[in-house]
């Protein structure tokens, strides 16, 4: 914990990453697939001298630029902003590892931007061949961006050898991680599929001419179905190369079950609608149909992205950075010397407010228990915020610990802390036993009583019954 922790009420700071990331991918995939759509279709329209289709495509290109160059690009920058704020240690590690990957991606982003503007603004003023070439430059540059960024997100899910073998720690092993190919295939497929859904939605509203709508419906069904195949194939490989803990989380966590279910169900619906609709019956392309298709597509993408973000727990980068901003190799030292002691800001906090427990600039853990109760609570809260708040709100809010504890008695709460990683979605307890005491003190103040009204005979037998009673 070398960085300050940002407390976001109710939601927790890392959830902001998930929110921005999900919104971003919904546009960024279109930024890649839509570029390919425009290049292929403008080429087709030039060859067949289809002026009406060209006119439609020009309008589509304006919509495309407006959405991807502004919203897509700026939310992409937004991800960078939010990871630095919510997950600074992981961001630091990613930047150090991938700086030249990012710099290279920046080059393709630059090429992409200029190509997009020239493609749109010089439409009709450039010779057809040149115009088309610029469309293709955009498409290729955008796909290169996708590949590089996917390399980084894939690394977070499974860095493979890089994480465990110090000799293998270089850029290339990081980039060509076990998840790299599967995720690149999935995301390429996703770009093809999602952009067809955007095209359908746009065309169903703005393509007035029935013939044009039919051309679009049938021509864009093929990349969409190809995308569906890539997603399925890549998705299977993605699953095969997941770390075991991620597989287990996917299988065991109720929330993940639901999201995975939404993902699979909405993907199937999208496939079926694509096949029955645009592919077999292009005439079905009404705003209602296209809108519904788009919504199912968004549900699938959103769920997929959420699963991707969530199954890494307790890591931000699997086996490299824990989500409470410590490295796995620091854990033994934290357990011996104290969590508060090792955190730069937590130690400064204790030194500032509780100089009595300091000895030679370090916290003397034994003295922590001599503090008055109200100070123990403060430090317990410090521990909660810096050790748990990356995944849990306190009393209410996202995965609130107060609610999860459900009136658990003190002894058991204390045991939960010391055996935190019995639940492998959680990091190991990274503090001393004195710190566990302080955290227990604090947790008992936010521990919500067991809900009333449950049939009294249903309380489990054994010694904890009375204690539950005491809580109420």
């Amino acid at each position: 914990m070398h960085y300050p922790w940002w407390y976001v009420p109710q939601l927790t700071a890392p959830m902001l990453i998930a929110v921005i990331a999900v919104v971003h991918v919904l546009v960024s995939h279109y930024a890649v697939g839509g570029g390919l759509f425009l290049a292929v279709e403008v080429g087709h329209a030039y060859r067949t001298r289809d002026r009406e289709y060209l006119a439609y495509l020009r309008g589509h290109a304006a919509f495309f630029v407006l959405l991807t160059v502004v919203f897509g690009a700026i939310t992409g920058v937004g991800i960078w902003w939010i990871i630095g704020l919510s997950s600074p240690l992981a961001t630091e590690v990613l930047i150090r590892t991938f700086v030249f990957g990012w710099a290279t991606e920046w080059v393709s982003f630059f090429v992409e931007l200029l190509a997009a503007f020239i493609f749109l603004y010089y439409w009709g003023r450039l010779p057809e061949k040149k115009h088309l070439a610029i469309g293709w430059i955009y498409a290729v540059a955008a796909w290169i961006s996708l590949v590089l960024i996917t390399g980084i997100t894939a690394f977070m899910l499974n860095p493979g050898r890089w994480a465990i073998d110090p000799a293998a720690r270089n850029f290339w092993t990081a980039l060509f991680n076990p998840q790299f190919v599967p995720q690149t295939v999935v995301r390429t497929g996703g770009a093809l599929l999602l952009s067809s859904l955007y095209v359908y939605l746009h065309a169903s509203i703005f393509a007035r001419d029935g013939r044009i709508r039919n051309v679009i419906a049938s021509r864009s069904a093929r990349p969409a179905l190809l995308g569906a195949i890539l997603i399925t194939a890549g998705g299977l490989a993605w699953y095969a190369f997941l770390p075991d803990s991620a597989k287990a989380t996917l299988a065991s966590s109720a929330v993940m079950n639901v999201f995975a279910g939404v993902l699979i169900a909405s993907t199937l619906v999208v496939f079926a609608m694509l096949y029955l609709g645009p592919y077999r019956n292009p005439g079905w392309l009404s705003p209602g149909f296209a809108g519904l298709l788009f919504l199912f597509g968004i549900a699938a993408f959103g769920a997929g992205e959420f699963v991707r973000e969530a199954i890494r727990k307790p890591f931000v980068i699997y086996n490299v950075v824990l989500s409470n901003q410590v490295l796995p190799e620091q854990v033994p030292q934290l357990r011996a010397g104290g969590y508060l002691n090792d955190g730069v800001w937590t130690r400064a906090f204790v030194a500032e407010h509780y100089s009595d427990v300091m000895a030679d600039g370090r916290i003397d853990n034994k003295r922590l228990l001599d503090l008055p109760y109200k100070d123990r609570l403060v430090l317990g809260k410090v521990l909660f915020l810096h050790h748990c708040n990356d995944c849990h709100a306190a009393k209410r809010g996202y995965s609130a610990v107060g609610l999860l504890l459900q009136g658990r008695p003190r002894e058991q709460t204390r045991e939960t802390i010391e055996r935190l990683d019995d639940n492998y979605s959680m990091p190991p307890w990274c503090g001393t036993s004195e710190e566990a005491e302080l955290l227990t003190d604090y947790l008992m103040t936010i521990n919500q009583p067991r809900p009333a009204g449950i049939h009294p005979l249903m309380k489990s037998g054994g010694e904890s019954v009375d204690e539950y009673g005491e809580m109420e």
Binding site: W6, Y7, A73, V77, L85, R96, F117, I134, K381
Partner: protein, 382 residues
């Protein structure tokens, strides 16, 4: 509290030589500053001219506004370079500073999206010389201008806070709960904040003037007459002069009214570590004189317009170098960039440089294609 307690010194090896990081940070910032200046000061100036200007003023306002979507896109893109390399070598101070003001820092993104759409709303609604525009488009344009000024203010907050670790304890104390940052701080008590913000506005006015000349002489093609060019030189003269005076005032405030005594001693010292630092104080201060004199006395030619633009790029460049040195000096007691270990990734570094050259080649080819067309910015986007 000793602020040094808040910075962790132990560091892993940086994958690029520090001089390389500094080079790309400074070069990237200079390149970013050109378009940034144009939306910072150029946007309100253009909006005003388009609304209230005479025939030529309205024309220039319309041109700059129609160019603005591309300018913003390129400027944001170029901003990535300094930010990336900054995070590579200054992460120890960058993350804490921005976390202390997290909500405001995040607000940059929240403001940028509507600002950017506001620019489009104006640009895509503004046909060549028509005066009448729907009210909502005008309002969107003005909102964008205000948002960009606000974004600039938030950036100055972030970077002045990053430079001044000594400000952290107080802000942390006032904006935290049980040691966790609430993200609600702003660096308002920092003496350098306001002059830094105003300094950039002065530079931005100058850059707008230089752009006006460059555009008039190089990018208008045959679409404007001699009259317009004469107006352009006259207006650029006034605008640059205002920018120069503004810069001088804010710069003096900045250097003499807000720098710490030690910093001023260093920056006015003759060789420090072999660098004549005083040159990096005096040169940025005097540099705008060159484009200004060129505008006043150089004569109204295309070559002079190009020299003015180049000169202004130089002004931004020396300012960026000077800022970098000041930043390093401010940070030195807490985080000495040059003392961190280095473990260079030569292969990936080479890959980046090769791709950069290829990318610039592709960009060059694309620009060559549109040069063969009419270079005037289109006004008929669907």
């Amino acid at each position: 509290m000793d602020p040094a307690m808040l910075v962790e010194r132990a560091a892993a090896g940086t994958p690029a030589p520090i001089w390389f990081v500094q080079l790309f940070k400074v070069l990237g910032f200079t390149l970013h500053a050109v378009p940034m200046n144009l939306w910072y000061a150029g946007l309100p100036v253009a909006l005003w001219l388009h609304l209230r200007g005479g025939e030529h003023g309205r024309r220039f306002g319309g041109r700059l506004l129609r160019q603005m979507p591309v300018i913003v896109a390129v400027g944001v893109n170029l901003g990535i370079v300094p930010l990336l390399f900054m995070q590579l070598a200054y992460y120890k101070v960058f993350y804490p500073a921005t976390i202390l003001m997290a909500w405001s820092w995040l607000a940059i993104i929240a403001l940028l999206i509507p600002a950017y759409y506001g620019v489009y709303a104006y640009a895509w609604g503004c046909k060549n010389d028509e005066k009448e525009m729907p009210f909502w488009r005008v309002a969107a344009g003005w909102c964008a201008a205000v948002f960009f000024l606000a974004i600039g203010f938030l950036f100055v907050n972030g970077f002045s806070l990053m430079d001044h670790v000594d400000r952290w304890p107080e802000l942390w104390r006032d904006h935290s709960m049980a040691g966790a940052a609430l993200g609600t701080a702003l660096n308002l008590g920092d003496a350098t904040l306001w002059p830094r913000w105003l300094l950039m506005l002065g530079l931005a006015l100058q850059t707008t003037a230089a752009w006006l000349l460059f555009d008039a002489e190089w990018l208008t093609g045959n679409s404007v007459g001699e009259d317009y060019r004469r107006w352009a030189w006259g207006f650029a003269k006034k605008l640059y002069t205002v920018g120069l005076l503004w810069f001088a005032a804010a710069g003096s405030w900045y250097v003499f009214g807000s720098w710490s005594a030690e910093l001023r001693d260093s920056m006015f010292s003759w060789p420090l570590m072999g660098w004549p630092l005083v040159a990096l104080t005096v040169l940025p201060a005097l540099s705008p004189g060159l484009p200004w004199l060129l505008i006043l006395f150089g004569g109204r030619t295309r070559a002079i317009a190009a020299l003015v633009a180049l000169g202004q790029f130089g002004v931004l460049g020396v300012n960026a170098v000077s800022r970098q040195v000041v930043q390093n000096l401010n940070l030195k007691p807490y985080w000495d960039v040059y003392s961190q270990p280095v473990d260079v990734q030569w292969g990936p570094l080479a890959m980046f440089l090769v791709v950069l050259v290829i990318g610039l080649g592709v960009v060059g080819w694309m620009i060559a294609q549109i040069r063969k067309c009419d270079f005037a910015p289109p006004s008929n986007v669907p």
